[in-house]
Amino acid sequence: MTYDLSGPLEFDALADVRPGSNILVSGPAMSGKADLCMGMLADGSRRGEGAVVMTTGDRADEILDDYRTRVDDLDESRVAVVDCRGDGSRSDERTAEGAYVYHVSSPGDLTGIGIGITKGLETLANNGAEEGRFALDSLSTMLTYTDRKTVFKLCHVLSSRFDSAGYVGLFTIDSEAHDDQTIQVIKQAFDGMIEIRDHEGTRQARLLGLAGQPTGWREF
């Protein structure tokens, strides 16, 4: 089976994404990167796939509230949130609606992130989700807690893990918050990149990598 990510963004190459693919979503602040990723996860949840969200910004309950509005009759036992905002300690909980939440001590706590993702994937698999989608919002926050080298390696290790788990991964980065070299390097850890820009008042995206040639810019 393959993943159809083309719901929010109609590129042919996104309709047929190989399990294990990891995609960088790059664009300026407030350009809808997270919204795009959550839309792609929601499509999966409607089909019964698992969804794992790793957040460095919004709280887990905010993520879940938003997610419920996206998916009717959401089966929350197949949703996991790894909340990295961090209060200095690690803990996990099961929400009243059944979602699994793991709290990491800080965005720089990579061990905690590893445990949270592992437990999240395990929970989802136990609840019948063999396939799933992952979103990390955002790598830019990670880059303020640790250096480029560590974030690059983190991306590579996460990509490898999702590859062997058969998931697809989406990772956002604020294209204006970092120098070109940083984006160039981080990009290398991924199979493809969705680039977003604001152009004359409209929001446009294009796809690089995944399947062949870069696409043209398209409004969405």
């Binding site: 990579l110 590893g114 445990i115 983190l154 290790v157 590859d163 062997s164 390097v185």
Partner: protein, 467 residues
């Protein structure tokens, strides 16, 4: 053809060290037993020269070649047998000279062999010899594939004969190749069979843990298995540069391997051909029960340099940069395993620590800073697997670090030069090529982070490094 000597099987074990044999050479002695050892290209050349010069000894050389150099389509069968594996093909060049009539190639650890039949009379693929408990040989792991290659006699009397076998490995690398020649003309006469066969009753196999005191004999003694039937007759004159095997104490023995001077470590008598200590990973066992510690040591001794400590304090004394893996008993009088671990981490030593515990722990154990755990009672194959896995993690970290450095370099070059300039830039091409290689290596190491423990421990390693 399917007869194996206790000696050749046993002696092949040291070659498994670190699981990497890029280039190896085995020498046929009068008893006809050959093994492979990790050595340099130069040594392969030496053997070839030795053969060209007409030395009356057989030799076997094998080389690891890159997967890209052979078409994958030829090995569909092997792929089907190892659906999850990435196929690595290794050309085993068997240089046979001096009257070697036949050779048996054994590849340990679940590898498959194919041999072009144009060059041999008989090829036996994938058969486990009925009179050998292969489980005992390879510590109960993936099993062992065997290929028999009977070289035409007339071919090898006149000139060295090349037999090329392609090893299709489910593992990253071919881990051991044993080639056993069945006959040497130099020994004179027909039917000089290989030395003592493995007993039909399977006594070679050892106990259920896969340990036999014989093939893991710790003292480095090369036992005489009566292999010198041929040698008992006409004295076989050694060509220049070759040395008759002798035991570690220097006494002469019959049978065993003949070694070339290029293999000699001047301080170490020849006889047991194996990787030098400097090439082998170091494992430190910290365990207060002497019997248990000794058992671990016996299991690991063939593949690793093993150090022992009987308490936490002793363990800290034994610890230095050369230690790769520590097996740490959690419950010890004096310093506990947890305390020892803490001090190891404080000293920022780059070693992996496996905790040996009586109770099955959770991921929490990984949070504490251990890299793996083993629950008592431990079996030989578990221990091997864990140590190998921990060494694999170190390899992964090193590869990832190199990968990152090259990606940085690539990005720097891309920023400084135009596309046209890059096309002609040699450095850029080399970086690109190495990046591609590393991507492959990384996805093969640790099976591309297939397990939860590897995943968490690798991320924790990034943290440690960062701090």
């Amino acid at each position: 053809m399917n007869a194996f000597t206790e000696r050749s099987l046993g002696q092949s074990l040291p070659c498994r060290s670190k699981g990497v044999l890029d280039v190896g050479v085995g020498i046929v002695g009068d008893a006809g037993a050959v093994t492979g050892v990790k050595c340099s290209e130069r040594l392969v050349d030496l053997v070839e020269q030795s053969l060209d010069a007409g030395d009356e000894c057989g030799a076997v050389a094998f080389r690891q070649i890159r997967p890209a150099e052979t078409p994958a389509s030829e090995h569909q069968v092997a792929r089907e047998e190892h659906p999850r594996s990435r196929v690595v093909e290794t050309e085993v060049v068997v240089l046979v000279a001096g009257g070697v009539q036949g050779a048996v190639v054994v590849v340990a650890h679940g590898d498959c062999l194919t041999v072009p039949d144009s060059v041999v009379d008989e090829v036996v693929v994938g058969i486990e010899p009925p009179d050998v408990d292969v489980e005992g040989f390879d510590d109960g792991r993936d099993g062992t594939d065997v290929v028999g290659v009977r070289v035409r006699q007339d071919d090898c009397v006149e000139s060295p004969r090349r037999v090329t076998a392609v090893v299709v490995s489910g593992r990253r690398r071919v881990t051991a190749v044993v080639v056993e020649a069945t006959q040497l003309l130099a020994n004179g006469g027909d039917g000089v069979e290989v030395v003592s066969r493995v007993d039909q009753d399977g006594s070679f196999a050892g106990d259920e843990k896969g340990v036999t005191g014989e093939h893991l004999s710790a003292g480095g003694e090369v036992r005489d298995h009566g292999g010198g039937e041929g040698g008992e007759g006409e004295p076989f004159s050694l060509p220049a540069g070759w040395r008759r095997p002798c035991a570690v104490d220097g006494s002469t023995i019959t049978g065993g391997y003949w070694t070339h001077r290029a293999m000699w470590d001047e301080n170490q008598p020849a006889g047991r051909v194996e990787m030098s200590d400097a090439d082998r990973p170091v494992v430190l066992i910290v365990e207060d029960e002497p019997d248990v510690a000794e058992t671990y040591r016996l299991w690991l001794d063939a593949d690793y340099v093993v150090r022992m400590a009987h308490s936490g304090d002793e363990g800290l004394d034994e610890l230095d940069e050369s230690v790769d893996v520590v097996l740490l008993d959690r419950m010890m009088p004096g310093l506990s395993g947890d305390e020892v671990l803490e001090r190891i981490r404080d000293r920022e030593l780059d070693c992996r620590v496996a905790m040996v515990t009586a109770v099955e722990p959770d991921f929490d154990i990984l949070e504490m800073g251990f890299d793996a755990y083993l629950c008592k009672p431990i079996k030989s194959d578990q221990l091997h697997e864990t140590v190998e896995n921990l060494i694999g993690r170190s390899e992964y970290d090193d590869l990832l670090q190199e990968y990152y450095s090259l990606v940085e370099k690539q990005a720097t070059l891309e920023a400084a030069k135009s596309d046209a300039e890059l096309t002609d830039n040699e450095e850029y091409g080399a970086v690109q090529e190495r990046i591609d290689e590393l991507q492959g290596d990384l996805s093969e190491t640790l099976d591309g982070i297939d397990s939860d423990e590897d995943f968490i421990a690798t991320l924790r390693g990034l943290n440690d490094f960062d701090e």
